[in-house]
């Protein structure tokens, strides 16, 4: 382990109380029984000005832990009348809707301390808290400019805005504390962005602020700690790690809604599911149900009402990200006030907004990761000393096995690992632009500051200057003037902003969250339903749709015909099965760690499969599940064993069968991200062998490739750990996923401006140009930085190339074996994957060759060429 990362234990109670100012001490104990464990870990360390990462289960005392020491400090100063007009502490949270939490954790304590002081006749200077997010009004901002807050509460985006504000920045010259809350949710580009903003902040401040990270349960902690503190003079800054032990035992159970889980998939048995839900809801005061998609959220609310008419009126609420801000706030308020009996959410209620006290969390279908499951269940039982209670409800056999293993990992505290993107060039471009707007830089100095961030510590000079060159408009050749955002003088080494609109463009286009629009779906046929609006699908999903694809929305099947403007037109008179899974673009990928655990579990069951009683006993004990669940799992495995073979962590079973075409179905139990990489590589190899397009399908449990005729030996042998990366780079060239990610990167890298010269673009229009944009950029250079970043994002963030290479290495070393088995049709384990439909095609045949081929076919139909 790095020498600058130090795990610490809880301090002695007296030690912590000893640092508290008498006023603060009195206030604290008038409100709380005692210091919490988290506070024993954190408060004194912060007081001692040590960088610290505090990881504790979701439970409401982390924020106060962070603030207590700071409040203590500020109160002491204010009583001594030494409080200056500057920002002492910057608090950062990814949640816009902070107001209520800040009120509870900061403003009210301050008010109460003030009252106490008044009672005691103690005079205090005013301690001010300022909140700035995307929702802060201009007048509020103006007020803050006049009366500088001592504690500045903000979001990553708003932070980077004030870093370019010439006057406001003066208030940040002596920041003493920086708090990064919900840091576990920053393992993505937003976190990368924040880490650069933090380094910019520290660069502006004349003193090095103490860094405090607040995290829910996450792994690996060291990685997150490094991300928090970054580097100084090439060396990792010191960071204490407080891993507050999960004192709260989580009470979890798993419910299979029907005797035979296969029946649960039958819509007739929906009744049973909703009866179970109803029972659970009635047994508790407030229940929170998590689904995995927005569509499912709507469906659950709708069906609860359907099955129990009038029972839930006014007592139930849906909460997901495509709802309006007002509606979401309304639900949150109602929850806080205990007015709702049940709330249903996709992922939006996972993060820390206070939602009052929840008695039970229901997880409908697998949450796909241990950390996420813990986070969700942790939303229950906010009372300091009650245990969170959660129930998994599974709806199919794969779900059952997955949740069983997940539950085991949760109970045994095996947290899956996050990955923080490194060297993201699009975020870098945006931040460099921001830096150039603040002042004129020396290029080497700028690079030095950038490299202090953990995410850019290994940024190459080449990449840095490539991005500078891009921002300076070099790619536009003679038209550089039009496209340049910065100027770079290679002789003097100076970088500055360009154009009068620079600041405006920056402010109106910053951010890392790609804008995803929603497209209304309207019916064209049958005639009597023409014009009917049936729901919305998101942009990502729409991009993948081809004419004729059949998908499910709100429980009904539709066939996609075309889009016009911001609407998608479909036919409702469909009898075909769905060809694409509707929730594909929203689907959370199963974490690799859990995938491996499932594979291991499979191996253990495989060993005992011949002895039913022993096997059942093993499953019950190993997974902590009941008889019914164990029976269902056993049956599922037995079927697979009879049909072909049970794949496990030592044997990667590949089934070959023929339906309309030849299929190779790989039972790679590694999670969708790795399967995506492997699938594309093998599909590409297969496509190249016969120069024909290959269909591929992927899910968490495996992948398949399909085509006219597949030579499995040749295909499998053509991919290895050395060539995987280069094969994938080629394979993704013409894919939808690259196009889409390119657009996101182009947006982040300010090549596509959401808002320009007062005109905001609709998402639909942005889409239309995707194809053109990508090909235009490729003509500039195959290694164009934004394009390079799009590829990196696809290979490392969307897929998981690192672990895919690892898998291939295991196979090469003999630790895992590939076993090809011929089957008459798809096996039980492969059914879900097969039925799901294709995820994509590997297009190897280029447009012109396709044209020639179609032409000769057409000639046969219409006869000789005539004119």
């Amino acid at each position: 382990m790095e020498e600058n990362l130090i795990y610490v234990e809880a301090c002695e109670r007296e030690e912590v109380i000893g640092i508290l100012h008498p006023l603060v001490r009195e206030w604290f104990f008038s409100k709380f029984k005692d210091l919490s464990l988290t506070q024993l870990y954190g408060v004194k360390r912060i007081w001692d000005r040590r960088n610290i990462l505090i990881s504790a289960p979701t439970g409401g005392t982390k924020t106060l832990t962070a603030f207590l020491g700071i409040l203590n400090y500020l109160v002491s100063l204010s009583i001594k009348k030494e409080l200056e007009d500057k920002i002492y502490a910057v608090y950062n949270s990814p949640l816009k809707a902070l107001s209520n939490d800040i009120f509870v954790n900061l403003i009210r304590p301050l008010e109460e301390i003030n009252e106490l002081a008044k009672l005691k006749g103690i005079e205090m200077q005013e301690i001010r808290v300022g909140l700035r997010t995307g929702d802060t009004t201009a007048s509020e901002r103006a007020k803050m400019a006049k009366k500088v807050p001592h504690i500045f509460v903000t979001t990553p985006e708003s932070l980077s805005i004030i870093l370019t504000a010439p006057k406001f920045i003066e208030n940040l010259r002596a920041v003493e504390f920086v708090i990064v809350d919900e840091i576990h949710a920053m393992a993505n580009k937003r976190g990368v962005y924040l880490s650069l903003s933090l380094e910019r902040l520290c660069d502006e401040s004349l003193i090095e602020p103490v860094r405090i990270g607040l995290s829910a349960t996450v792994a690996p902690l060291e990685e997150v700690a490094k991300f928090l503190v970054g580097f100084k003079d090439g060396k990792l800054r010191e960071c204490l790690i407080a891993k507050v032990p999960l004192v709260k035992e989580v009470e979890i159970g798993l419910i299979t809604p029907t005797e035979d889980i296969l029946e649960a998939e039958d819509p007739e048995n929906q009744k049973k599911l909703y009866k179970i839900l109803d029972d659970l809801i009635q047994e508790n005061r407030t229940t929170l149900i998590f689904t995995n998609t927005r569509a499912a959220t709507e469906r659950v609310v709708h069906h609860l009402d359907l099955h129990f008419p009038k029972k839930y009126v006014g007592l139930i609420g849906a909460h997901h990200s495509s709802m309006s801000k007002e509606k979401r706030f309304e639900i949150e308020e109602k929850l806080r006030n205990g007015e709702l009996k049940v709330a249903v959410s996709s992922t939006s209620l996972e993060l820390g907004i206070d939602i009052g006290s929840i008695d039970l969390v229901v997880l409908l279908r697998s949450p796909k990761g241990v950390a996420r499951a813990l986070q969700r269940i942790g939303r229950a039982g906010h009372m300091l000393h009650s245990n969170p209670r959660g129930k998994f409800i599974v709806l199919d056999r794969d779900d059952l096995v997955e949740c069983g293993v997940l539950m085991k990992d949760m109970i045994e505290k095996k947290i899956d690992e996050v990955q923080i993107p490194k060297n993201a060039l699009d975020v870098l471009a945006q931040q460099i632009y921001g830096m150039a707007i603040s002042k004129i830089w020396n290029a080497e100095e700028m690079l030095r500051v950038i490299r202090k961030s953990y995410c850019y510590n290994e940024l190459s000079k080449e990449d840095f200057y490539d991005v500078i060159s891009y921002l300076a408009g070099d790619y536009a050749l003679e038209h550089r003037n039009v496209y340049a955002k910065i100027w770079y003088n290679s002789e003097s080494g100076e970088i500055g902003k360009r154009g009068k609109l620079a600041r405006v463009i920056y402010l109106t286009n910053l951010g890392t969250i790609p804008e995803e629009g929603f497209i209304s779906v309207e019916i064209t046929m049958p005639a009597e339903r023409r014009g009917q609006s049936v729901g919305k699908i998101d942009e990502g999903f729409l991009e993948r749709l081809k004419k004729g694809d059949v998908f499910v929305l709100g429980g009904q099947k539709y066939q996609f015909m075309y889009t016009r403007g911001m609407k998608a037109y479909v036919r409702a008179d469909v009898s075909r099965s769905p060809t694409v899974p509707s929730w594909f673009s929203e689907m959370l990928p199963l974490s690799f760690d859990v995938g491996m655990d499932i594979a291991r579990f499979r191996g253990l069951v495989k060993e005992r499969i011949k002895k039913k009683a022993e096997c059942l006993k093993f499953i019950k004990e190993y997974l902590y599940v009941d008889d019914l669940a164990a029976q269902n799992i056993f049956r599922y495995f037995k079927e697979q064993e009879k049909f072909s073979e049970i794949p496990d962590n030592f044997t990667l079973v590949v089934e070959k069968f023929k339906q309309d075409k030849e299929y190779l179905l790989f039972h790679s139990m590694y999670g969708r991200r790795i399967n995506d990489a492997l699938a594309r590589a093998y599909a590409f190899a297969a496509a190249r062998l016969r120069m024909r397009d290959i269909e591929m399908g992927i899910n968490d449990n495996g992948f398949y490739i399909a085509g006219e005729s597949l030579d499995e030996k040749k295909i499998i042998n053509s991919i290895n750990s050395d060539n995987l990366e280069s094969v994938l780079k080629e394979a993704i060239e013409k894919t939808d996923v690259l196009k889409r990610r390119f657009r996101h990167c182009a947006s982040r890298g300010l090549m596509i401006l959401r808002s320009y010269k007062g005109r905001t673009k609709s998402v639909g229009k942005q889409q239309v140009h995707s194809h053109f944009l990508l090909s235009a950029v490729k003509k500039i250079s195959e290694e164009f930085p934004i394009l390079r970043e799009a590829r990196r994002e696809v290979l490392e963030d969307v897929m998981d190339i690192k672990n895919a290479v690892q898998i291939l290495k295991w196979i090469e070393k003999g630790r895992m074996k590939i076993k090809v088995i011929r089957t008459p049709m798809v096996s039980p384990f492969g059914l879900n994957l097969y039925v799901q439909g294709h995820a994509d095609f590997i297009r190897i045949e280029d447009k012109l060759k396709f044209l020639k081929r179609m032409h000769s076919l057409q000639m046969k139909v219409i006869g000789e060429d005539y004119d």
Partner: protein, 235 residues
């Protein structure tokens, strides 16, 4: 004798006339206005293609059927420069140039300064009428006119083998009231165009496009006959 050369038509009679469809200068500008900061090389590509054709065939006159400009409204000086340069290329090679007025007026002022340029609502040569396609004119119904050539529609066709689908630029070649009608694809490569089976092409007549022959633009100057539109399977 009308020949199909890539995206253009070549009329080989006493005069050799090259007919070009819509051009869309100013696309780069319209992208930039939308905040898409990707420079297009459309002008350079166009010049290359055009020079290639001018080098490969004997041509006396060039008729441009379509919109020169991409958008209405203001346009940068640089875009005007491109249009002028383009016409200069033709004039330098001693070709006569006829521009059929599309749905825009602004070019009239600047272009009329140049010699050798004719701007017309419609143009008739022998038995052929050259029009834009958005407006009808009674003059083209004269008895001796046997062929109409037009742009405006950007015809394209979607071809699928049941699995994947691609869109290609194409000519639509058919009959209307006893006359031959040929609709040219757009010359520029911004996008393929519109498949008439999906959307209305916006032409001033109700043609029976299903019966029109589809001639797909292939590689280079290659044009492939796909038969009648109704014979191409639409998935």
């Amino acid at each position: 004798m009308i020949k199909f050369i890539g995206k253009c038509l070549l009329i080989e009679s006493k005069k050799k006339i090259l007919v070009i469809g819509d051009l869309h200068f100013g696309y780069g500008e319209s992208l930039r206005k939308m905040g898409i900061m990707i420079p297009d090389r459309l002008f350079e590509n166009l010049t290359l293609e055009l020079n290639f054709i001018l080098d490969s065939f004997e041509i006396d006159e060039v008729v441009i059927l379509g919109d020169l400009k991409h958008e209405f409204g203001k346009i940068l000086n640089s875009e005007w420069r491109e249009i002028n340069e383009f016409i200069d290329i033709l004039l330098k090679r001693k070709k006569d140039v006829v521009i059929i007025k599309g749905n825009h007026d602004k070019i009239t002022g600047i272009i009329t300064e140049k010699r050798g340029i004719l701007i017309k609502d419609f143009y008739i040569y022998e038995d052929i009428a050259f029009i834009h396609g958005d407006k009808d004119f009674k003059e083209i119904y004269k008895r001796d006119i046997k062929t109409w050539l037009m742009g405006h529609a950007h015809p394209a066709v979607k071809i699928s083998d049941g699995n994947k689908e691609e869109k290609f630029k194409c000519f639509l070649d058919g009959k209307y009231k006893g006359r031959r009608v040929i609709i040219l694809p757009s010359f520029f490569d911004i996008n393929e165009g519109t498949d008439p089976r999906e959307f209305d092409l916006g032409l001033a007549w109700k043609f029976e496009l299903n019966k029109f022959k589809v001639k797909v633009v292939g590689e280079g100057i290659e044009v492939l006959n796909f038969g009648k539109l109704k014979e191409i399977t639409y998935f």
